[in-house]
Amino acid sequence: MSTNIVLCGVGGQGTVLASKLVAAAAMNKGFEVKSAETIGMAQKGGSVMSHLRIGDDALTPMIGSGEADLIIGFEPSETVRMLPYLKKGGAVITSDRAVMPVTAALKGSSYKGSDMTDYLKNSNLIGRLVIVDTEEAVKAVGSPKAMNMVLLGAASRAGLLGQITHEDIIEAMKRKVKPQFVQMNTEALEYAKI
């Protein structure tokens, strides 16, 4: 059976790199990997989504409704948007920090990240929910760009990446990023205490 992971957020948050890292880790272990990315116009502040499928029996790179084992959400409203993809009893890891679209600021119709996380907490679809205070996390790690690694580290530490372990992810990151960024990314991957 394949492990299906949805990564979602707002264009520019680093979902693509996180998805590539999991893929690299899976390939190092000899698994087949397929994924699909949002590239182009939609990247510019729009909703973005990566489909990631690990396992020999994935015949298409894309995930259908009710098929995801895990959703890693970089923005709470985007996590809620992607919830239909989750399998009953699947896991969700999400940032609680809302990224307001310009349209919301213009209309003065801001939403709260906590409205979204409250909804997730009450959802009986979700088997396991991890909410990460990413604002605190990136402050602690010292780089706003580290959010993707913080969330990915939370997923791997919680053992939610199928047969891909936390060590596999750290290993893959070391191979993928420039030497000067290894320490920062290691700290980010280790940040969430699960």
Binding site: A36, M41, A42, G45, T60, S77, P101, S110
Partner: protein, 598 residues
Amino acid sequence: MHKEFMMGNEAIAMGAVAAGVNLVAGYPGTPSTEVLETVAKANDGSIYVEWSVNEKAAMELAAGAAYSGARTLVTMKQVGLNVASDPLMSLEYVGVKGGMVILVADDPGPISSQTEQDTRTFAMFSKVPCFDPTSAQEAYEMIGEAFDYSEKYNTPVFFRPTTRVCHAYASVEVKDERDYYYNRPEGFVKDSSRWVIFPKLSNKNHALIEKRNRELQEVFSSYSRNAFIKGSCRKGIAANGISFAHTLETIKDKEEKPSVLKIATPFPFPEALAVEFLKANDEVLCIEELDPVIERELIFVCGKYGLNTKIRGKLTDDIALSGENSRDDVTGYISKLMGWEMKASEISSDAPELPVRPPVLCAGCPHRASFYAVKKAMKGRDTIFAGDIGCYTLGNAMPLDMVDTCLCMGAGVNIAQGVGRIRPDTKTFSFVGDSTFFASAITGVVNAVYNGADTTIVILDNSTTAMTGHQPHPGTGKTMMGEINSRIDIEAVLRGVGVQTVERINPLELDNAVECVKKTADKPGVKAIIFESPCAMLFKPKKAAAVNHDKCIDCRKCIKEIGCPGLVIQDSKVVVDSSLCNGCGLCSKICPVAAIEL
């Protein structure tokens, strides 16, 4: 052989490299761009790679090289093919010597395009054979086969993946370098009876092309990429591309399986294979995106052979007429055909309202300042703002609302003239980016000067082709072979074609920019303003701005005027999102009480 994790576009590129491609030319366009970039990255110097000024130039360059025996690859998105269609239509009559593959990426949705045109239909119109891969792995292998067919039949061929094949990643089994094919072109051999198109040659070759395509129908019926996968009942699915992959996924665990016809060469259509498939089924559903190409072919085959298999699809409203086929769509279509029960959604109906997230100009984008300067300068005047293709199409969003029209690459300069011809009192403006200017707006400027138009051309020069991921262009002087040539100066081009008034100004110097627009727009004739400021993604951001809440009067003018994503409301106060802000300072110049500090 070894495995690599690759994007579909990377697989296509590496497949072409492994097939001995000698020359690659293209123009950037989502979802095709990464193909050429990948070849450039993998290039050991033996392949000539260029971003051409536009698709027509790329097609002609590749034709010349293919006449000379080179294996050539041309890359573009589907609308780019419209630009290149003039050389293409004639090239099919002339033919090639070296293999020539025209990669045209189609974009169902459309996700990042103006149209949902189908290159398979263009293949029929132009009589050019077409290859349509279903996955990254297949694309890697198929492009080498496309080169072989092209050479064998002396014709250019289309290779048309769609977005979901181009931008999918997979662990792809690729050749080791020692197994690559190398092609040594012999060079151009003069033969005017072959390379010069005249009515007599066209008449002769037209008949030959029709006969060749009939022969290819037979050849493609036994081409292994076209397949009839037998099922366990008398219902069938005909599919291509990503819809084929989705179909296999949907039926993989089912006991009762429909048979599947996989179409990898929509033109010429593998007729004999289709007959075999149709005879085995009473009812067939065609699952494809864009045009009902397979569906029409199957109906034709039924008529030709007197078969009474029922053909369903877009023409019978069983499949959506537009947009892409998602996994859920395909599962729904097949379930309906087979009478399978669908799982109901488990999502509760009390979900909170979710924000809409249309794409916007980035925080710190200099286009925002350019649009705002023109808007301020022309406030209260009768104006038309013709837009064009690029990031700056996003200038249409509220609150800027500065793009009244957008049609195709380079159209804005002429559209503005057309509007002005009907109402001469309207102040006409066109906005065009630097890359689009070189690609196809220069002729519009010449047209304006020649015909004595009264219009202002605003060039948004951010020193790159930003929308597609920062490709170089003639104004940057950098080439894909790593050379630095002399930059082509936009002002010199404009003056050279007779534009008398040309202003260059940094749009982030807002007051000067507004004055400049006011002064320039009221001059008679054709005039140009070049707003020069590099794309915000090209440099390290300056210190983020911050709102001094002791001074802020909460008028929200900053948000209402420019709609920068870096300005957000938190706990009922305007704050700067420091992870997005790059310190461009535009908002600080708009604040009436100087509360935004840099």
